[in-house]
Amino acid sequence: MFWLTSIVAIVATLLAISRLNATHALLYLIVSFLSVAVLFLQLGAPFVAAIEVIVYAGAIMVLFVFVIMLLNLGPHAVEGERQLLPPHAWIGPGLLAAVLLLELLMPLSNNQFIPTTGTAKHADHSTIPTIPTEAAPQLQERMVVGPKEVGIKLFSTYLLAVELAGFLLLAGLVGAFHIGREEPRTSAKPGAMEVPSQEGPA
């Protein structure tokens, strides 16, 4: 199940970055996001799974589609895109990304970053009452970390960060409004994005 979802996610992403038609790319990207949401569910994080669908797939991507529709790119856009994207353009970035991927995967295969048994690090995280300290590393029964825990964490430990995020959204709202001001209809839209993402976690 996990592998299926992962493969869907990766293939969809691959298709998303290689499509010439922006709408098709976005559709694949949405599929990718949805499968990542399913991954989240499997990882025991239903809340962010829902948020991923609502905000990422449901709002941010809608915004993308919206803008693409506003730009109203016809078939000639696909043609132009093809010209911008000669096959040899893939070589350099592909190599670079491959090296990076390799470097990212190396420590994972070494198990370098993952402690196997209850070490001191585990003790730090044993403050969550529902999980016995010894049970966590064994990964036998994955507990679900629900919205309540996330909310409590969000509004206690990360309260400052939440407020900063609020500022960021406000800045984004004002900035988008300012940039897009000459076209009032479009400028209102980017602003419209902020609220769902801000209120989602609340």
């Binding site: 038609n21 709408t23 098709h24 559709l27 949405i30 239903p46 809340f47 799974a49 829902a50 948020i51 669908v53 609502i54 797939a57 449901g58 709002a59 809608v62 915004l63 589609v65 919206f66 693409i68 529709m69 506003l70 109203n72 679900v144 629900g146 919205p147 309540k148 409590i152 209102a188 839209k189 419209a192 994005m193 609220v195 769902p196 209120e199 989602g200 609340a202």
Partner: protein
Amino acid sequence: MTETIRLLLCILIIPNVVLGMAAGLILLERRLLAVWQERLGPNRVGPFGLLQPLADAIKLLTKEDWIPPFADRPVFVIAPAIVMATGILTCAILPIAPGVGIVDDLNIGLLFFLAMSSLGAYSVLLAGWSSNNKYSLIGGLRSAAQMLSYEVFMGLSLMGVVILTGTFSLREIVEAQRDGWFFIPQFLGMVIFMLAGLAETHRMPFDLPEAEAELVAGFHTEYSSMKFGVFFIGEYAGVVVVSALMTTLFFGGWLGPWLPPIVWFMLKTLTFICLFILMRATLPRPRYDQLMALGWKVMLPLSLLNVVVTGAIKLATTGDGG
């Protein structure tokens, strides 16, 4: 074993019931509209015209399934599927009665509903875009803006209920209403949710994406045959789901005296469906900018106020910040 059978039965029955209701609704709507407008309505096919939906279905299925040559073919085909899929998926979380429901107790049930409704926006958007027709495109754009805007405070209006119950699980929300239905403490939330639900399902008076007078038929201008039928059914399925959620969230779900729970649920849902139709029959369609202004300048502040006041009262009564 019985558990599995029960689950299978639910999976088989509930979506079909919803879809059946959606189809029946077409008839119901036409009949009710006729009653309120003092005319007869469809009454020829079957007793009281009861077989009219069937006839419609046959007509739609046998029509030519035409895809315009200028359309973006794959997207054109996918678009109606999305609305159907999200509609049916939403049925999964409806707690119809104790023991009746597909996902028995999804702890993010409410969020799941919001997620599905936000995905639903794609169907309209993509349909409008892929038709490659300016009326459709405008319809799609309108619907995207409208759904985005109304989704915001649709979510917010439900937060009042969430604050009162402390859970996203629909079943727990229903259980929490044993002492009193939430439409009393959350009256503002209920009104906002109902209006947002109207907008989400593009019902009159918020049916601007498909306003016949301005945009021919909006995003589904180019659709014909069963693809059109799917849009049609999808919209009514949305109405059913929103009514069911109204019932669940604000009117105690299956709770009620004497009658079996499932009957209570059906009755309440049907009442709201009729209310929706009544609204269509009575209210005029606003201008598009009025719609957006209403959303951002009236509804959003109100729903925020609702959240703040509810939260404050909850804090004050429990006296516990956690």
